[in-house]
């Protein structure tokens, strides 16, 4: 595999490790954004242009901002003084190691991996659009419904409850 791919992979993994291990939450969120950018670069190198750009748009442009807003709205911007790890964290690490071992063994020893590589497919936007409108139109409509429901649900859940003395200002 080309060295760019390995370097991008390492950057992504470093971003993910920092995202999960830093003390300050905002730093974690920014490291997560780096990990997302790394994954987008990996997609672009695999020839999935549309998915790579959609990854940047959705994850970095929307989800990272959402997480940052949530961090600020729950006042977690300062570094915590107590331990950041939950009780029983060693069990989590043990299970993680097991999960990675099993996945790694499955990847390296599987016989389902094809030996010859097919040619780079043509994932033009026109093909994606055609498929989305013919073969996958039902999932598309369902995803539209799910997104609407999620949006309305999220707004309702996070809505400030009406107090008796409505001081309601705006930020």
């Amino acid at each position: 595999m080309s060295p760019f791919f390995i370097i991008t992979g390492i950057v992504t993994l470093l971003g993910a490790v920092f995202a999960m291990s830093l003390r300050n939450l905002v730093h974690c969120a920014l490291a997560m954004a780096i990990a997302f950018a790394g994954v987008a670069a990996l997609f672009l190198q695999l020839g999935a242009e549309f998915v790579g750009f959609a990854q940047i748009l959705i994850y970095i442009g929307a989800i990272a901002i959402l997480i940052v807003f949530a961090i600020l709205l729950t006042r977690s911007g300062e570094s915590p003084d107590k331990s950041v790890l939950t009780s029983g964290w060693w069990a989590g690490i043990a299970v993680t190691a097991m999960v990675f071992t099993i996945l790694g063994w499955a990847v390296l020893s599987s016989s389902a991996v094809p030996k010859e590589l097919p040619a780079a497919p043509a994932a033009s936007v026109k093909n994606v659009g055609d498929l989305l409108m013919t073969k996958y139109v039902l999932p598309l409509e369902i995803v539209a419904l799910v997104l609407t429901a999620a949006m309305i649900g999220a707004v309702l859940i996070a809505l400030k409850e009406d107090n008796k003395d409505n001081a309601g200002g705006q930020p």
């Binding site: 905002v26 730093h27 920014l30 954004a33 242009e49 549309f50 750009f53 959609a54 940047i56 748009l57 970095i60 442009g61 929307a62 990272a64 901002i65 940052v68 807003f69 600020l72 911007g77 033009s124 936007v125 026109k126 003395d165 001081a167 200002g169 705006q170 930020p171």
Partner: protein, 398 residues
Amino acid sequence: MADKIDQIFVTALHFLVSYLPEAWRPLASSLICIVFILMVFPLIFSLTTIFERKGIGRIQNRYGPNRVGIPFTKIRLAGFGQFLPDGVKMLTKEDVVPRAADQAVHFLAPIVLLIPVLLTYAVLPFGRNMAIADYDAGLLFFLAVGGAVEISVFMAGWSSRNKYSLLGAMRAIAQMVSYEIPLILSGVTVVMIAGTLNLSQIVEHQNQYTYGIAHWFVFTPWGLVGFILFFIASLAESNRSPFDLPEAESEIIAGYFTEYSGFKFALFFLGEYLGMFAIIGLGITLFLGGWTSPVSFLTWIPSWIWFLTKMMAIVFVFIWIRATLPRLRMDQLMGFAWKFMLPLALINILVAGIWHFMSHDWQRWLVCSAIIFGAYVVLGRGLMANQKLGKRIYRYAE
């Protein structure tokens, strides 16, 4: 002859690159394009700052800067050399970083602003065959990378550990996110009619002439509304007046770049203006025909001159609007985006669909214009109806 001037940059690039061996050519070609963009657009930025100051000054019945010519000589260019001492001032000012600020994030924020903004220049077609990266999903690339600017705004606002910076940053992000939706939806109408996300092909679609007038998308009902929506949304995306509440001096000191001075402030300033140029470039590509000329007897003018002229014309309109219109308050801004522009953009998509499927007659002009006009009147009335313009009441802080 006109053709040669038109393709002068392309031929120069091929000429320079042909000296290298075959394997190095793509890399060298990209590097030369990058250097070119890094030279040309900051120069346009400097000239724009002068045009802005002189233009706003003239609109406000005063002269702008009118003394500085070329430094160390006696040549007076009526103030057009102002950007040189301004640049030196920004570079030599002391870089004050607050002690409680988050040093790493504070340092990285201007860089994280500039990188996506400069990336967006890669897909714009500046002239015939002059798009640096002609992606199949070019429009999606532009919008995706343009949306990554918000992270830098947050980084700047939060790392300064300043209440005003954080407030300005939150407002700026909310404004940018809200106005991205009408921006993208008005671009979707162009994609529907042109059938492609590739920006060069969208320009090619507009490169036809009937009765001497080009087929620019702005000359259709849905295109006109789409262009106006895109224009307003791009004003809001670049935090320009009348949407500059997050960074206005009389409101919030300087918003999210309060704690930046010296070169970092210059980088923010540069990043904002470059973002403005990029999004104007996208608007020109989508609606105003990119590098094509409006009338068929002027096609001998080189394509990149047309692109630059259109960009400068829209920059002038931006400056004009900044000097003329008052600032919008935050809730007015958000209400305008969500309650007026978003429904109008959705109706515009419907109208573009009707336009595409009706027969190519005068009827479709009538039907589409009627639907859009009706929607505009209904939405405008709906937006005005919520304002209770009665006797003034006072609300005290509890």
